[in-house]
């Protein structure tokens, strides 16, 4: 009997969360949470080591009946598209624990339990091969995330938590109806692989496309359903922001890749221009809003909207470069924006202000920290040599091939990105040290470096040598394109 590696990956944090409930000492809780997340990460490395990148087939599959009367199975499996996100989630798991080490000083146990539960559910979303199972994981995430924002967040946390919860719930419920409709049209099964092989009539595809769009667009978030994001980001504790930015936002895009494109190919092609335009609007609008922010977290939050617009643009170019760029950019955004939120969190712990105008001259006060900040800001604006450059270049070349005007808008977004990120860096890091902060700043310590360094490594690694990352997704993306454009693979 083989080891059910994916179940192990998904349920290790869940078991850890359950075990944590019986521990009283806060320090033990912290170390145990770290131990569980590191162990989970080790399983993920083992999974990546065994991943066959030459095939698009689902790997490490497990299938067990769950509710046979309705054709629901407990089925897990990963391919080249989901594997990077399983890895990303596991990586950020222990980074989040480190980021909350001192930032969370009350109800530590409850926080770590929520964090681990969250991680289990996020991993479940990326591994699920059964639509019902996927939905259970997807929706159950609302509970721990609601608590993370609402209990440990900032002053406006309750409002932000409600807004997050209700927005996502309303979106997901339409998705649920779509899933059930798909179930009856796709031969009474929730199995994702079977459903991908169905050939649904165009009209059904269109309805389902929009039902799915509501859920995924809220999660991405796409303009105009993005308004929950700045609130949630600003109010959430650092670890919550990292999870939101790095993993949760990816789920919307992942939903498009896993369901909309392969299951509803005709509708996808038909509405791709609409999606491209919506993405372009998000890129420019998010960028403009980011330009006007004084709050560091809000700035990163709006930049997320802009960057996720780039991701959805890449996906809906429906050509090889665009799709690969979009998926790589999803991963990049997880690394870079996660790191930016972590950086903002670190400095906030020291100064208790997020207002850019309060800062200045950090470079003199905390040189190591500022170096990291510079790297992530440059990565976010896609400087050559950093990870986002590769992704953005692929997306842009795909976008220009698909639609000239949309490509031009995306380039404008990249320009805006340079403007607000460099502006932020100049005000925060350069110039004279601001008077109010003179004695508050100390540089990063070993724990903080341990949290931030791996992300910096990925920024440079993907930037300088993206080949191994692109190889993982390559076969699956090609197969996905063949599914979208019919068996001939014609464009």
């Amino acid at each position: 009997m083989t080891i059910p590696l994916l179940s192990l990956i998904v349920f290790t944090p869940a078991v850890g969360a359950a075990a944590l409930m019986f521990i009283r000492n806060d320090d033990v809780v912290r170390w145990m949470a770290l131990g569980v997340t590191v162990l989970d990460f080790a399983f993920c490395i083992a999974m990546l080591g065994g991943l066959d990148t030459s095939t698009h087939e689902m790997q490490f599959t497990e299938t067990r009946p769950w509710v046979p009367a309705l054709g629901i199975t407990y089925a897990l499996g990963i391919d080249g598209i989901s594997a990077p996100f399983v890895f990303l989630t596991a990586l950020l798991g222990w980074i989040c624990v480190l980021a909350s080490w001192v930032a969370i000083d009350r109800k530590v146990k409850e926080f770590m339990v929520s964090l681990l539960a969250m991680q289990a559910l996020m991993l479940g979303v990326f591994c699920a091969l059964d639509l019902f199972l996927f939905y259970v994981f997807w929706e159950a995430m609302l509970i721990p995330m609601y608590l993370i924002i609402g209990v440990w967040g900032g002053d406006g946390r309750v409002y932000a938590a409600f807004k997050f919860f209700l927005y996502t719930l309303a979106g997901s419920l339409m998705f649920l109806i779509g899933v059930i409709v798909l179930y009856f049209h796709g031969g009474e099964t929730f199995d994702i692989r079977t459903l991908m092989a169905q050939d649904l009539p165009f009209q059904i595809q269109s309805w389902l496309f929009f039902a799915f769009l509501i859920a995924f667009a809220v999660k991405v978030p796409m303009v105009p359903v993005h308004t929950w994001l700045p609130d949630a980001h600003v109010q959430a504790p650092t670890a919550g922001s990292i999870i939101l930015a790095a993993v949760l936002l990816k789920m919307g895009a992942y939903g498009f890749l896993r369901f909309s494109l392969p299951m509803l190919p005709e509708a996808t092609v038909h509405y791709s221009t609409l999606m491209q335009v919506l993405s372009a609007v998000a890129i420019v609008y998010g960028g403009l809003l980011a330009l006007a922010q004084d709050d560091l977290k809000k700035l990163v939050a709006y930049s997320s909207i802009s960057h996720m617009g780039l991701v959805t643009l890449g996906i809906f170019t429906l050509n090889l470069r665009g799709l690969e760029g979009g998926i790589l950019q999803m991963f990049n955004h997880g690394v870079t924006t996660g790191a930016l939120f972590l950086s903002v969190g670190l400095i906030y712990e020291r100064t208790h202000t997020r207002s850019i105008s309060d800062y200045g001259g950090l470079m003199k006060a905390a040189p190591v920290y500022t170096a990291f900040l510079a790297l992530f800001a440059l990565s976010s604006m896609a400087l050559p040599g950093t990870n986002s450059f590769v992704g953005e270049l692929l997306v842009l070349s795909g976008a220009f091939a698909a639609n000239l005007a949309v490509g031009a808008a995306a380039v404008l977004g990249a320009l805006l990105g340079a403007a607000y990120l460099l502006g932020m860096y100049r005000k925060v890091a350069l110039g004279p040290v601001s008077i109010g902060l003179r004695f508050k700043i100390r540089d990063v310590n070993a724990r903080e470096i341990a949290a931030i360094l791996p992300l910096a490594v990925f920024v440079l690694w993907i930037g300088l040598y993206p080949k191994p990352f692109l190889e993982i997704i390559d076969a699956s993306v090609k197969h996905l394109l063949a599914q979208v454009h019919g068996k001939g693979g014609a464009q």
């Binding site: 009946p65 769950w66 509710v67 046979p68 009367a69 309705l70 409850e110 019902f132 939905y135 259970v136 929706e139 159950a140 609302l142 509970i143 609601y146 608590l147 609402g150 209990v151 946390r157 309750v158 938590a161 409600f162 919860f165 209700l166 719930l169 309303a170 419920l173 339409m174 649920l176 109806i177 059930i180 409709v181 179930y183 009856f184």
Partner: protein, 479 residues
């Protein structure tokens, strides 16, 4: 009636006979029990229910029609009876301490609950409009009295009076519908009604009769437009009785609704349109009005209206899956609703009424375990996976979509998103506020056992719904 037929009929209705006999014996024994030994009554009542449950399960092997077509013991009835037993036993367990605190622990309290149980059981088994009526009246008469059991409190008396008057009117309407049916078809038996009508099923007289019967039954489950009594009665009644009424009699009402509406005659008169409209309006009213409630019991009253609306969608869907979805919904609702009521009942101690939501502020800080249970029940009521509440809603939606009612499914989920707000608002109060005083819940072993059991059901059915689903599906096909 020969002796053999009589024996068969007695056998089929043995659980009902056990409960009624047990209630009568307890009524006498109750006079002999001294003050301070009242927990004997609780255990004796539970024993009666368990004996009846044993009888039900032993007789569940085959379908037994009885009393010349007025009564039937089939799997459909067994499923509902098991729900009733569950609800009643848990209510007894919750009542012990609460009755002591409120000073209502006389033997009549337990006897009336047992008699209400027997009424519900008759309703689940009745196959004739008249035996339905008998069961219905037996049940509601007991609940009228139980509602007014807090004799010293004005609002309890007011609630009881309101309930009696409105309940009486609705029963009258129901009986009028029955008389019209009898006039048109010459029978009150559900099976024979369809055969008796040879003409157009959309005959206006028949339609009128069906509408009257629908109105009478809808009152019992608290659906719009006959919901007015629910908030006042739920608020005024002793909380244990509120908990009981919100699940037991409601499930009994649905049992009758399913039996009557699945009748070919009623099904032919396009009654599902009425049911669908009732379902949508009920859910909308329950969900929106609950948003502004400050009183926990009132909020749960509107929440129960909203849940009745959701279950009504399953009735509108019809078919085997529709019926099974309603049954599963009621079973799951019994677990999660008794759970949350268990908490409210437990909190009634000393000066703490447990009825004002704001008073629960910061509850999670001092009582982690209990707060976690509340969280579980509330998210389950909101229908968030992996709790059972999600699967209940999911299956109703499946039944709706299967029959092509996609728009109804969309309405149902949008309204349940509204309803989610007031459940998570309570979670917010207990987790995200600072406590203003100390909490002293009356957590006796009996209450603890109830909470543990309901929590196990709420999470267990959510994670492993297969067995319960099959149970409901088998029972639905049997009915």
């Amino acid at each position: 009636m020969t002796a053999a037929v009589l024996f068969q009929s007695t056998l089929a209705s043995l659980p009902e006979i056990v409960v009624v006999t047990g209630a009568c014996i307890l009524l006498i024994l109750g006079q002999l029990v001294r003050k301070g030994q009242q927990q004997f009554l609780v255990w004796a009542s539970i024993a009666v229910v368990l004996i009846a449950a044993l009888g039900t399960l032993m007789l569940a092997g085959e379908v037994r029609p009885a009393y010349s077509g007025m009564f039937i013991a089939d799997r459909f009835a067994v499923f509902f009876k098991v729900v009733f037993y569950l609800v009643t036993v848990l209510t007894f367990l919750l009542s012990r301490k609460y009755a002591e605190i409120e000073g209502i622990g006389s033997s009549e309290y337990y006897v009336l609950l047992l008699l209400a149980l027997s009424g519900m059981m008759i309703m689940a088994s009745a196959t004739d409009l008249l035996s339905i009526y008998v069961g219905l009246e037996l049940m509601v008469l007991c609940t009228y009295v139980l509602t007014g059991f807090l004799r010293q409190q004005q609002r309890s008396n007011e609630a009881a009076l309101k309930y009696v008057i409105l309940g009486g009117v609705s029963t009258g309407i129901f009986l009028y519908g029955v008389s019209l049916i009898y006039g048109l078809t010459g029978t009150t038996q559900l099976d024979r009604m369809a055969a008796a009508v040879t003409g157009d099923p959309l005959d206006p007289g028949l339609l009128l009769a069906v509408v009257f019967i629908v109105a009478g039954l809808v009152f019992k489950v608290g659906a719009v437009p006959f919901h007015m009594w629910v908030p006042d009665v739920y608020e005024g009644a002793p909380t244990t009785i509120t908990a009981f009424m919100s699940v037991g009699p409601k499930a009994a009402g649905f049992a009758v609704i399913l039996r009557v509406f699945l009748n070919p005659l009623v099904a032919a008169s396009n009654v599902w349109i009425i049911v669908a409209v009732i379902a949508a309006v009920t859910m909308a009213l329950g969900s929106f009005v609950a948003l502004v409630q400050d009183n926990f019991k009132r909020l749960l009253a509107y929440s129960s209206i909203a849940h009745a609306g959701f279950a009504m969608f399953g009735v509108a869907a019809g078919g085997a899956d529709g019926v099974a979805s309603v049954m599963l919904y009621l079973l799951i609702y019994a677990f999660m609703n008794l759970g949350i009521f268990g908490i409210v009942i437990m909190m009634r101690n000393g000066d703490f009424s447990g009825e004002v939501i704001e008073h629960y502020a910061g509850f999670a800080k001092s009582h982690r375990g209990l707060a976690l249970l509340m969280l579980l029940y509330l998210f389950s009521l909101a229908g968030i996976p992996p709790t059972a509440g999600f699967f209940a809603k999911f299956y109703v939606l499946v039944a709706l979509v299967e029959r092509g009612f996609v728009m109804l499914a969309v309405i149902a989920v949008l309204l349940s998103a509204v309803a989610a707000y007031f459940y998570i608002r309570i979670v917010m109060v207990i987790y995200m506020r600072e406590p203003e005083g100390a909490f002293d819940p009356a957590l006796t072993p009996a209450v603890g056992a109830t909470l543990a059991f309901t929590a196990a059901g709420t999470i267990g059915i959510g994670l492993f719904p297969a067995w319960f689903l099959r149970l409901a599906q088998h029972a639905a096909i049997g009915g």
